[in-house]
C-alpha cells in the first residue's frame, strides 16, 4: 500500500533556478499540489509562489519562516537552497515530510550523518532521496543501468562536455565564481574555487557506482586544467580576451590499488579555440558513458535540436520532479538510486 496518495502536497524550499522549474511543473501537474514555499529574501517573503516562478498567482504565499514549513500539512519538500543545512533537512524529515534534493547526498558513507538522517526519517516516517543530472544520473544511474549488459568491467569513464558560451548565467557566476576570463598568469596561481565542492559530490556518486558494482574504492585522485583562448571570444556573459581562461577540465578518478576504475572527465568551455586544444567537439551539452568491459558499451546522450541555455538545470529539475511518486511510495529512511525502482517520466507524460 502506498505510503502517501496523490495528489501529493508539495512545499518548495529555495526558489532559485531549479526551484522555479519545480514550482512551474508542480503547478501544472494534476498529481501534485503546491502548498507552500520557503524563501530566503525579504523581497520574496509573502509573495505568491506562482508569481515567484514567473507564473500566475495560485493563492499560496511564500514565507521566510522555517517553522511554518515544519508545521504545515504536506507530503514532500523539494529542497533546493543554495547552501545545504543538515539541521533543516532533519527538521523537515522529522516533521513527517519526504524530501528530495539536487544538492549532494546521492550516496552517504558518513555514518554519523546517515544516522542523523535516518533517525529523523524514523521520527517522521519520512523518506529522503537525492536526484540530479551529474551527480545522480549521468555518472551513476546510467552506468549502473548499462552495467547489466556486461559480464566483465575494467573501467567506467563518464564525460561531461558543456559549452557555456551561450549560458544566460550572470557574468558574476561565470567570470567570478567559475573563474573564466582570468589571465594566464593569475590562473596559474589560482586553484578553481569549485574543485573542492565538486570533488566531494562526485566522490559520493563514484561510491554509489562502486557499491552497485560490488567493490570498494580505495582512493581518489583529482586534477584540474585551465585552457586559454587563442583569440578574443564573444560569449553571452561577455568577452573573453585572447590568452585568458576559456576552458576548464576537471578530472576525478577513483582507484583500487594504483588502478583507475572510475573516471569522471568534465570539459567546460566558453570558447572554440583553446590551448591546449582539447580533442572534444564544441557541443551544447553531451554526456558520454563508456564501459571498458566485455562487452564494451558506449552510450551518448544529448539534447535534440537547440539546447535551452539552462539544460543542465532543467534535466536536474526533471529528475527531482519525476522522483516524487517513487519517493512518496518508498519506505521511510535515506534512499539512494540503488534502493528505489526505475524512475521514469511517469506523471509527466502527456502522450
Amino acid at each position: 500500500m502506498a505510503k502517501r496518495n496523490p495528489p501529493f502536497r508539495v512545499i518548495q524550499w529555495g526558489t532559485g533556478a531549479v526551484g522555479k522549474y519545480c514550482i512551474q511543473r508542480t503547478i501544472e501537474s494534476p498529481h501534485l499540489r503546491q502548498v507552500g514555499a520557503r524563501v530566503f529574501s525579504d523581497a520574496k517573503d509573502g509573495q505568491d509562489v506562482g508569481e515567484i516562478a514567473h507564473g500566475k498567482a495560485i493563492g499560496v504565499k511564500a514565507s521566510k519562516d522555517k517553522q511554518a514549513v515544519y508545521d504545515a500539512d504536506a507530503d514532500i519538500v523539494l529542497y533546493t537552497p543554495l547552501i545545504v543545512d543538515l539541521d533543516d533537512i532533519c527538521a523537515i524529515l522529522a516533521s513527517g515530510k519526504d524530501l528530495i534534493t539536487p544538492s549532494g547526498f546521492v550516496f552517504l558513507k558518513d555514518q554519523a550523518v546517515l544516522d542523523r538522517i535516518n533517525a529523523a526519517c524514523a521520527k517522521g516516517k519520512s523518506t529522503m532521496y537525492a536526484a540530479g543530472i551529474h551527480p545522480g544520473f549521468a555518472g551513476d544511474r546510467v552506468p549502473l543501468v548499462l552495467s547489466a549488459l556486461c559480464r566483465n568491467i575494467n573501467k567506467v569513464t563518464v564525460y561531461e562536455l558543456v559549452s557555456m558560451a551561450d549560458m544566460t548565467e550572470s557574468p558574476d557566476l561565470i567570470f567570478g565564481y567559475l573563474g573564466f576570463n582570468m589571465d594566464g598568469e593569475t590562473a596559474a596561481k589560482t586553484p578553481p574555487p569549485l574543485l573542492k565542492t565538486m570533488s566531494t559530490i562526485f566522490k559520493e556518486s563514484m561510491q554509489m557506482l562502486a557499491a552497485g558494482l560490488g567493490f570498494e574504492i580505495e582512493s581518489f585522485r583529482t586534477s584540474h586544467e585551465y585552457a586559454l583562448t587563442t583569440e578574443d571570444s564573444y560569449t553571452t556573459p561577455g568577452l573573453i580576451k585572447k590568452g585568458h581562461v576559456g576552458g576548464q577540465h576537471f578530472n576525478y578518478e577513483a582507484l583500487v590499488g594504483d588502478r583507475t576504475v572510475i573516471e569522471f572527465k568534465t570539459y567546460w568551455r566558453m570558447a572554440e579555440k583553446l590551448e591546449p586544444a582539447w580533442n572534444q567537439p564544441m557541443k551544447g551539452l553531451t554526456y558520454i558513458v563508456e564501459i571498458d568491459g566485455d562487452p564494451g558499451v558506449r552510450c551518448v546522450f544529448e539534447p535534440i535540436g537547440d539546447r535551452p541555455a539552462e539544460l543542465g538545470l532543467i534535466w536536474t529539475a526533471a529528475l527531482v520532479m519525476n522522483a516524487i511518486p517513487e519517493v512518496c511510495e518508498a519506505s521511510p529512511g535515506f534512499k539512494t538510486t540503488l534502493d528505489l525502482p526505475l524512475i521514469a517520466a511517469k506523471a509527466a507524460v502527456h502522450l
Binding site: 552495467s147 583500487v256 562487452p295
Partner: protein, 358 residues
C-alpha cells in the same frame, strides 16, 4: 553463499549464459537441461567451451527450492515454467515475457500464482526487446518534464547472423527473397510482434496512458549489390537486403511509442535508406518532449582505439549482453518477493561483481 543455478537450454544464448554462470564465482551451477538427445550426458563445460565441471546435462534436471533457472529456449512453455516456480525455483527467461501482463490473465495469473505457491519469482529479460526498448527509454524519460513520443531504433548488420542461422534470417526473415515474399508474415514475425508489443504495453502502462492499438508498419529495401555471406550463400541484387520491422503504439490517434529494427546485410539499398555502413549494433532512443533528448548506445568488444578489438565483435557482443543481462538479474530476482516481477518492480540490475580481478 553462491546462488544455485540451473541452465535451461543451451542454444546460442543459453550456452553464453552457462559459460558466465561457470566463470562467475557468485554462482554455482547445479544442473543443465538440454532438449536434444545428442547433448544428453554431455558435461556442462563441454557445452560452452570450458573445462570439465562434473555437472552432466539431462532432459530432466533435479530442481530444489531456491534454485535459479536461466530459461533460454526459443519459446516459453508456460506449463513447464509454472512447474519450476511451484517447485520453488526462480525463473529468469530470455524467451520474451518481459511483461507477461500483455498476454492477459491466462498467462499472467498462471505464472504469478505458481510463483506465489512456490515462493518463487518469475522475471523476463532481454536486450531488444527489453533493455533497449523499455529499461533505457524509461530511465531516460526521467530527464523530461513532458514526453510526447518515445522512439527506439535498432540498426544491425546481420551478415554474421545470416551466415550462421540462414534458416532464420533467409527462410523466416526473408533476406534474398522478393519483397512480396518477405513481407508475407509468417509465425516468426508473429512472435516478434508479440515481444515488441509487450514492450509497448509496458511503457504505456507504466507511464499511465491508454493505448488505442499497436500497429505493424514493416517495410523492406532491396539490395543494389550481390552480397556473399560467409556460408557461401548469396543475396542477389533486387532481393531483400534490409528489413525494417516497426511497431507503433497509438495513443489518442497519434503514433506515440515507436519501436523499430533495421536488419541489413548491406547499406547499398533501394530505396536508399539512411542506414549506416557501420558493423556495430547501434540503438538510438529519442524522447520528444520538454526538453527532447537523443541517446545512442552501442556494444562491441572494445571502444578503445588502441585495442586490437576496436569496434569488433558487435553481433557477438549483443548476444553476450542478452545472456549476461539475464545472469546479472539472479541476485535481484532471488531477493525479490514471489510472483511475476518485471523491470519495473526490481531495483537497477547492476553488474554486481563485474569488476573481476580487483
Amino acid at each position: 553463499m553462491a546462488y544455485r543455478v540451473v541452465q535451461w537450454g543451451t542454444g546460442s544464448v543459453g550456452k553464453l549464459a552457462l559459460r558466465e554462470v561457470l566463470k562467475n564465482p557468485e554462482f554455482t551451477l547445479v544442473g543443465v537441461k538440454v532438449y536434444g538427445d545428442a547433448k544428453v550426458g554431455s558435461d556442462a563445460g563441454a557445452l560452452c567451451g570450458l573445462a570439465e565441471t562434473g555437472i552432466t546435462a539431462t532432459k530432466e534436471p533435479a530442481i530444489s527450492k531456491g534454485d535459479n533457472v536461466i530459461y533460454c529456449p526459443m519459446v516459453a512453455d508456460y506449463d513447464e515454467i509454472a512447474q519450476l516456480l511451484k517447485a520453488g525455483a526462480n525463473v529468469i527467461t530470455t524467451a520474451s515475457n518481459v511483461y507477461p501482463q500483455f498476454y492477459g490473465p491466462g498467462v499472467y495469473d498462471k505464472l504469478n500464482d505458481a510463483g506465489m505457491a512456490g515462493g518463487a519469482t518469475f522475471h523476463g529479460s532481454g536486450v531488444n526487446p527489453a533493455f533497449m526498448s523499455e529499461v533505457l527509454p524509461l530511465t531516460l524519460s526521467g530527464l523530461v518534464h513532458r514526453a510526447k513520443k518515445i522512439t527506439v531504433r535498432e540498426v544491425s548488420d546481420v551478415n554474421h547472423y545470416a551466415s550462421t542461422a540462414p534458416e532464420i534470417m533467409l527462410d523466416h526473415i526473408g533476406f534474398g527473397k522478393s519483397p512480396a515474399d518477405a513481407l508475407n508474415a509468417d509465425g516468426f514475425l508473429k512472435g516478434m510482434t508479440a515481444y515488441f508489443s509487450e514492450s509497448i504495453s509496458m511503457i504505456a502502462d507504466h507511464l499511465g496512458v491508454a493505448l488505442d492499438r499497436i500497429e505493424e508498419r514493416h517495410e523492406v529495401a532491396t539490395s543494389k549489390v550481390r552480397v556473399t555471406l560467409d556460408n557461401g550463400r548469396t543475396i542477389e541484387p533486387g532481393t531483400v537486403g534490409c528489413r525494417l520491422f516497426r511497431w507503433v503504439g497509438v495513443v489518442g490517434g497519434e503514433p506515440r511509442i515507436e519501436l523499430s529494427t533495421f536488419w541489413k546485410v548491406t547499406a547499398e539499398l533501394e530505396p536508399q535508406w539512411s542506414v549506416s555502413n557501420s558493423k556495430l549494433v547501434e540503438w538510438t532512443i529519442m524522447i520528444e518532449g520538454t526538453p527532447s533528448i537523443r541517446c545512442t548506445v552501442a556494444t562491441c568488444a572494445s571502444f578503445d582505439p588502441d585495442s586490437p578489438d576496436y569496434l569488433k565483435g558487435a553481433e557477438e557482443a549483443a548476444l553476450v549482453a542478452t545472456a549476461t543481462h539475464a545472469v546479472n538479474a539472479i541476485p535481484f530476482v532471488f531477493k525479490a518477493a514471489p510472483g511475476v516481477k518485471t523491470f519495473l518492480d526490481l531495483p537497477i540490475i547492476a553488474g554486481q561483481g563485474a569488476f573481476r580481478g580487483l
